[in-house]
């Protein structure tokens, strides 16, 4: 009897890539930005769930892995956005002080 999605191999490479993306999001400051932290946690949960589905439902494992990867990428983007906004505010404050406004 074939397991559901048994014609597909487990998404080992994609899973490793997703794990790398999670690492990038962590290093990029996602844990310190509330919106980013949420998506980082979702990514980690999805990765864990996906791993459990390997060789049981590889199709589901693949889509969950893809979702985990995207969640991690969104976490990093949100962290970058927050940092960029802070940088812009700081630079504009500095300019305002310099011009005496």
């Amino acid at each position: 009897m074939l397991a559901c999605g048994g014609s597909l191999p487990p998404p080992n490479n994609e899973w490793a890539s997703a794990q790398t993306d999670v690492g990038r999001a962590q290093a990029g400051g996602a844990p310190t930005v509330p919106a980013a932290k949420l998506h980082l946690q979702l990514a980690e949960e999805d990765l864990a769930t996906s791993k459990q589905l390997f060789d049981r439902d590889n199709r589901r494992a693949a889509t969950l892995t893809a979702l985990a990867r995207t969640e991690a990428q969104l976490a990093l983007s949100l962290a970058k956005e927050t940092n960029a906004q802070s940088e812009a505010s700081a630079a504009e404050d500095t300019l305002a002080r310099a011009t005496g406004k």
Binding site: T70, K80, E81, A84, E87, E92, T94, L95
Partner: protein, 317 residues
């Protein structure tokens, strides 16, 4: 494992509603009917629809993904086209999965992927905009700092030039002072060869003996006296220092006569110095008679010493 439904970051648009009706003609018809009648009709219809598998409503996640991606397309001028294209592709994957197997949880996964891709496009655009704002502000701050630095450097340059000028003037003054000191030293050395020179609280005091300058009881200068006064005048000329010429006598004779004689003798020396080039307004003559003795009038030598003319060269003010 039940799938956690996540609320979209943005609210559904009117286009979503249009999209729903396009996907489900039954729903379009149901909107025309009121609540309870709607319920009475909807249940068997939807059950039939589910049995056929042909008109089932797409999951909320897929509708949300359609909304998100549509908004991303509408904001394409702001967003990175690559990011928008990725969101489009992800939505296409989700739609195909939905068509292929409407019961599969993978469809929801893929719908969420499409949503996230659209959200990434928006976040990246916001980042880029914020970084641009930061760059502009930093550039303006640097330009302002450069302008202020240039102004301060200009002021510093001006101050340095003024300092250079002041230092130059100080150097000139020092040189002038050194020159004056040297001349004074030379003058003193010259005078010391022909007269007694000492310093007191009044200045440099040159003492000339009465016998060298005048005959007894007289106030016309001897020829030898003129020769000495020539050297003294030459040494003091150009110094611009006031000179007091003070005549003294011994205590022989009346005080009145001694005062008169000392005054006339001082006057003769003054007139000679003026004739030799010392400015008239710098030379004063005074007679003090038997006062301010420097020796004992009880001896011949003492009285000779007291009969004198002093030239007091005052320091330049």
């Amino acid at each position: 494992m039940p799938r956690v439904r996540r609320a979209p970051l943005r609210t559904p648009s009117p286009e979503r509603q249009e999209s729903e009706e396009r996907m489900n003609p039954i729903l379009r018809g149901l909107r025309q009917i009121d609540g309870r009648a709607l319920l009475a009709l909807a249940i068997p219809l939807l059950a039939g629809s589910a049995a056929c598998g042909g008109t089932r409503m797409p999951p909320k996640e897929l509708n949300d993904a359609r909304d998100e991606v549509l908004q991303a397309r509408e904001s394409a001028s702001r967003l990175d086209p690559t990011d928008v294209h990725e969101a489009d592709l992800a939505l296409l994957n989700a739609e195909r999965a939905w068509e292929r197997d409407r019961d599969s949880p993978s469809t929801i996964d893929l719908a969420l992927v499409a949503q996230r891709k659209a959200q990434i496009a928006e976040a990246e655009a916001q980042s880029a905009q914020a970084l641009n704002r930061a760059a502009v502000a930093k550039q303006q701050t640097q330009a302002l700092a450069a302008s202020q630095l240039a102004r301060v450097q200009g002021q510093l340059g001006q101050t340095e030039r003024q300092l250079d000028q002041t230092q130059e003037q100080v150097q000139l003054q020092r040189a002038r002072l050194l020159d004056m000191e040297t001349k004074l030293k030379d003058a003193r050395a010259t005078i010391a060869k022909i007269a007694t020179v000492r310093d007191d609280e009044r200045g440099m005091v040159i003492t000339l003996q009465g016998e060298l300058l005048f005959k007894t009881g007289q106030w016309d200068l001897k020829a030898a006296a003129m020769a000495k006064l020539d050297q003294i005048a030459e040494a003091l000329k150009g110094d611009e220092q006031p000179i007091d010429v003070i005549g003294y006598t011994d205590n022989v004779g009346t005080r009145s006569n001694n005062l008169d004689l000392s005054m006339k003798r001082a006057g003769s020396v003054r007139d000679y110095l003026v004739a030799k080039g010392i400015p008239q307004d710098l030379v004063r003559a005074e007679g003090r008679g038997p006062d301010n003795t420097i020796a004992d009038n009880g001896s011949v030598e003492g009285r000779a010493s007291n009969r004198r003319v002093e030239l007091v060269v005052e320091p330049k003010k």
